[in-house]
C-alpha cells in the first residue's frame, strides 16, 4: 500500500511543479515546448527497454520492441526538431 501512496504523492507534486514551470515558459516558444515535453515524456523508453531486453516470451518482446522504437523515434525527432526551431529565434 505504501507504493500506492508515494506514487500518487509524486504525481501530485510533479504536476504542481509542471504547472508552475510551464506557466513561465515564453509564449513565443509554445511549439518547441510541445516537442520538448514530448521528447521528455518518451522517457517511457525505460519501460520498453525492460520489456524488450529481459528474458520474456517472444510475443512480449515484440510488443516491447515496437514500443521501444516508437519512444526512440520521439526522443530523436523531439530533441532534434526542438533544437532546430530554437536556433531560429534571434533577438535582432
Amino acid at each position: 500500500m505504501t507504493d500506492f501512496g508515494s506514487m500518487l504523492f509524486v504525481f501530485v507534486l510533479a504536476t504542481f511543479i509542471g504547472l508552475g514551470v510551464i506557466r513561465r515558459v515564453s509564449r513565443l516558444l509554445y511549439t518547441p515546448l510541445m516537442s520538448l515535453t514530448n521528447a521528455i515524456s518518451a522517457i517511457a523508453v525505460v519501460g520498453s527497454i525492460v520489456v524488450t531486453g529481459a528474458d520474456h516470451p517472444l510475443t512480449i518482446r515484440i510488443l516491447g520492441a515496437v514500443a521501444l522504437f516508437a519512444s526512440m523515434t520521439n526522443i530523436v525527432s523531439g530533441f532534434m526538431i526542438t533544437d532546430r526551431m530554437l536556433k531560429m529565434f534571434k533577438k535582432q
Binding site: 513565443l28 527497454i49 522504437f69 526512440m72 520521439n74 532534434m80 529565434f89 533577438k91
Partner: protein, 468 residues
C-alpha cells in the same frame, strides 16, 4: 546496481525540470534541449545496464530504427510541424499502450516481478485506454493536418454521435473495472483485449467530428493525454521518474489546452463534443457591402507614409511560403523609419506558438513579435494594419454577432487601425468557413492575390526606387 538506478532517476528528473525551466526565455532555451538529452541518456543507460537485460540486439535494433525514422521526422518543413507533433503524440500513446499490454500478459502468465495490486491494475487499465485512444486520435489529427485525402477535413457528424462516443468509452472503462475486480477470472484476458480495441476505436471517433480550426486545441489535449498515459505507465512500473516526466508533459498539455480554449472562447467539452467549423447556416446579413480593391502601388505608398505598421499574419501566409518576403518587407519598411510589429493571435497557425516559429524561420527578430493582449491597446494609434492570410482572428463579428461560431472569441483589433490592408488569395471564406466583415469595412482596402506574389510586388515597389 539498484542505487545507480535510483540516483540516475533523480538526476534525470532534475534535468527534465531544468529543461522546461530554461524555456522561459529564448536566450536560454537551447540549454533545455541539452539538459533533456543528458537526462534521457542517463536514464536509458542506467536501465540498460541492469543485469536482467540480456537481449541487447533487440534493443539496439529498435533504437537504430528509432533513429532511422526520427531523424527525417525532425527535418520536416515548419508548416508540417503540427502534423509531426500529432504523430509524436501517437507514438507516445502507442508505446504506453503496448507496454501496458505486455505488462498485463506477463502478469497473467505469472512471470511478472511486480505484484498486481488493485491500484496497479487500475493504472494498467488507464494506461492502455489513454495510450491507445491517444494513438488513433493523434493519427487522425495528423491525417487531418496533413490533409490526407481519405480523412475528411470538415467535421463529420451524425445524430447520436456523442451518445455513441461516450458509450464506447464507458464500455471500455466498465470492462476495466470488471478486470480490476476479478483479475484472476478466465475472461480477464479477452476483456483486456476488448478494452484495447475499444480505446483504439474511441480515439478515431473522438477526432472525426472535430474540424480544422480546432486543431491547436486538439493537439494540446492529445498532448495532455499522452502525458497522462506515461504517468499511468509509471504507476504500473513503479517508476517515479516516469510519473514525474509524464506529469510534466501532462501539465504542459493542460496549460496549452486552457490557453487555446480561452483564445477561442470555448470549453473543453465544447471542443470535443461541439463539432465546430461546420459550414455556417446561411449567415444573416443586413446589407451586402462591396470590397474596395487597392493596387500594389497604392498600398506601397500607404505603407511608405505610415509611422507604424502592424502586420497580422495567418496560416495563409505560411501556406503561400511568404515568410521570407515578409522579412524583406519588414526590412524595407524598417529602413525607412517605419515601426513594424507583428500581432500574434494565440491560435494563429495550426498549433500553439506555430506563427512565432514560422516568422523566426524567416529571421524576423522575436522582439518584433507581439501577443494579442499587448498589441490591441495600440491598434487605434496604428496607421496601417496589414492582414496577411489571417482571417477569423481579425473578424469583428466575433465581438457582437451571436449567430457566428466564433462569437466571443478574442480577436486582434485590426479594424481599429486607421487603415487596413488585407491580402487575400481568393474571395472564399477561411479555415473555419465564416465570412469576414473586416474585408468590407470602410477603412479596409483589399489586395487580392497569392500572398507571396503580392508581397514580392510590394517589396519591388520599395526597391525599384519609385518610392524614397
Amino acid at each position: 546496481m539498484h542505487l545507480i538506478g535510483e540516483l540516475s532517476a533523480v538526476l534525470a528528473t532534475a534535468l527534465f525540470i531544468f529543461a522546461l525551466y530554461w524555456m522561459n526565455d529564448p536566450k536560454t532555451a537551447r540549454h533545455g534541449v541539452i539538459a533533456g538529452i543528458v537526462g534521457m541518456t542517463v536514464a536509458v543507460v542506467a536501465t540498460w545496464i541492469q543485469p536482467e537485460i540480456i537481449h541487447h540486439g533487440w534493443i539496439i535494433g529498435a533504437i537504430a530504427l528509432g533513429f532511422v525514422v526520427g531523424v527525417p521526422l525532425s527535418r520536416v518543413p515548419l508548416t508540417a510541424v503540427p502534423q509531426r507533433t500529432a504523430l509524436s503524440h501517437a507514438f507516445g500513446g502507442l508505446a504506453a499502450g503496448l507496454v501496458g499490454m505486455a505488462e498485463f500478459f506477463l502478469w497473467k502468465s505469472g512471470s511478472s516481478t511486480v505484484a498486481m495490486t488493485p491500484f496497479r491494475m487500475s493504472a494498467l487499465g488507464a494506461e492502455v485506454i489513454l495510450g491507445f485512444l491517444t494513438f488513433t486520435g493523434s493519427l487522425m489529427a495528423a491525417g487531418k493536418l496533413q490533409e490526407v485525402k481519405w480523412i475528411p477535413q470538415r467535421p463529420v457528424t451524425y445524430p447520436g454521435q456523442n451518445v455513441v462516443n461516450i458509450g464506447v468509452l464507458l464500455v471500455a472503462v466498465g470492462l476495466g473495472v470488471a478486470v480490476v475486480l476479478n483479475p484472476g477470472a478466465a475472461w480477464a484476458q479477452q476483456a483486456f483485449l476488448a478494452i484495447a480495441a475499444l480505446a483504439l476505436i474511441f480515439g478515431v471517433l473522438l477526432i472525426v467530428p472535430i474540424g480544422g480550426a480546432d486543431m491547436p486545441t486538439v493537439i494540446s489535449i492529445l498532448n495532455a493525454y499522452a502525458g497522462l498515459s506515461a504517468v499511468a505507465m509509471g504507476f504500473v512500473l513503479d517508476s517515479k521518474l516516469l510519473v514525474t516526466a509524464g506529469a510534466l508533459d501532462g501539465s504542459s498539455g493542460l496549460i496549452l489546452s486552457i490557453i487555446m480554449c480561452r483564445a477561442m472562447n470555448r470549453s473543453f467539452t465544447n471542443v470535443l463534443f461541439g463539432a465546430f467549423g461546420k459550414a455556417q447556416p446561411a449567415a444573416i446579413k443586413g446589407e451586402q457591402k462591396e470590397w474596395k480593391q487597392e493596387s500594389v502601388e497604392g498600398a506601397a505608398q500607404l505603407l511608405e507614409q505610415a509611422r507604424n505598421v502592424v502586420i497580422i499574419p495567418g496560416y495563409g501566409m505560411a501556406v503561400a511560403q511568404a515568410q521570407h518576403k515578409v522579412r524583406e518587407l519588414y526590412d524595407a519598411l524598417t529602413k525607412r523609419g517605419v515601426t513594424v510589429k507583428f500581432a500574434i493571435h494565440p491560435v494563429a497557425g495550426r498549433m500553439p506558438g506555430h506563427m512565432n516559429v514560422l516568422l523566426a524561420e524567416a529571421n524576423i527578430p522575436y522582439s518584433a513579435l507581439v501577443e494579442m493582449d499587448e498589441i490591441n491597446p495600440e491598434m487605434p494609434q496604428t496607421d496601417i494594419a496589414l492582414v496577411l492570410g489571417a482571417n477569423d482572428v481579425v473578424n469583428p463579428a466575433a465581438r457582437y454577432n451571436k449567430g457566428t461560431p466564433i462569437y466571443g472569441m478574442p480577436i486582434i483589433d485590426a479594424d481599429k487601425a486607421k487603415t487596413v490592408l488585407a491580402v487575400k488569395r481568393s474571395k472564399n471564406p477561411g479555415f473555419a468557413g465564416i465570412d469576414n466583415e473586416l474585408y468590407v469595412g470602410d477603412n479596409t482596402w483589399m489586395l487580392f492575390g497569392d500572398a507571396k506574389a503580392v508581397l514580392s510586388d510590394l517589396v519591388r515597389q520599395f526597391g525599384s526606387g519609385g518610392i524614397h
